[in-house]
């Protein structure tokens, strides 16, 4: 079908997401990803380590692994929705980074994202789609941080592209 093939306008798509996000805000809380990912990390670690995990204070005091944490299901939903979108538009195919430099950048980038989320208690989604629209002081602090970080990251990215 044609509607599944064309690229949607990002402004309209994001406006629909915003309205749904306001509904979610009324029901459980605004869109967020970092918390769900942390809980998944905890659940995966618990799978491998069993009760040993509870001996690490963080997983006992801050995030007790709990499969009933709603934020996990936002992430799983996004994965599911993206697979549906990609399959319907015939855009699903395995894409593997070709250069070693890409693998290195993705590895470092992934680690920095994980560490950053845990250090800040928030990810980019809560920054732009939760905290800042709620006028939370943390939102403004996070926006300053993420713009500065994106600028430094862009300069590194440019250097790598040019070399």
């Amino acid at each position: 079908m044609e509607i599944f093939k064309k690229t949607y306008d990002p402004v309209i798509s994001l406006a629909i997401i915003s309205v749904l996000n306001i509904f979610l805000f009324l029901v459980v809380g605004a869109w967020t990803v970092g918390g769900g990912e942390t809980m998944m990390t905890g659940l995966i670690a618990q799978f491998f380590m069993g009760d040993e995990l509870a001996r690490i204070p963080f997983w006992n005091l801050v995030f007790k692994p709990d499969a009933g944490y709603w934020k996990i299901y936002i992430s799983l939903g996004m994965l599911f929705g993206a697979i549906v979108g990609a399959v319907l538009s015939k855009e699903f195919y395995w894409r593997v980074p070709k250069h070693l430099s890409e693998w290195v950048m993705i590895t470092i980038g992934g680690l920095l994202m994980g560490i950053g989320i845990r250090l800040a208690f928030v990810c980019n989604v809560s920054t732009f789609f939760g905290l800042t629209p709620q006028m939370n002081l943390g939102g403004y602090l996070s926006v300053v941080g993420i713009i500065a970080g994106a600028w430094v990251g862009s300069m590194i990215y440019k250097k790598v592209l040019e070399s």
Partner: protein
Amino acid sequence: MSIVGQCIAAFVFGSIVGFLVQRSRFCNTSALRDAILFKSYRNTKALLVTMMILTVGFTTFMTFGDGHPLHFDVGINQVIGLFLFGIGMVLAGACTVSTWVKAGEGNVGAIWALLFTFIGMFLFSLVWSYSYWPPASDTMNGEVNLAGLQFGFANAATLQEQTGIPAIFFGLIQTAVLYAIYRVIIRKEQRAEQQRSVKQSTAASTSL
């Protein structure tokens, strides 16, 4: 709402988001990176429009005490954390949303980025278990905590409490600021468009 209900609502919301983000190719990373590196604002404009809608929506409901705003003390750790996150997302070429969406498109690099996000979180959980900083939510009381580099808690609802002015009023001011940024970007784009057409017309006249 029951736990199962919460999880179902979250999954339905996530699915629609995943579909729309995949079909519109929106990416939070490129909203910042493309604006910085390439002066291209397709995603930046979408991000600003979303923030305007959400600011009006959230602050309207917060005026009446509805909704579930995020509630924890904030401090220097937000600036440092998101700074590291900002570098990371540009290097990985994906943020928390697009890693999931690109993973759904079959992007092995995005799956790799997700794996290392999890590893990064686990590594930091070990560091936290040693440093106990940033403070855990149990110890948060909304007050300034200089030893923990924390500023306490403030949002549109606390502003309303302290000033007696409805939260929506502050929300509208923020929306106006966001709109002003949006207008600056639109003007920049128009100017770039004019320059391009001038160049094209001079190129056409010299070729005649």
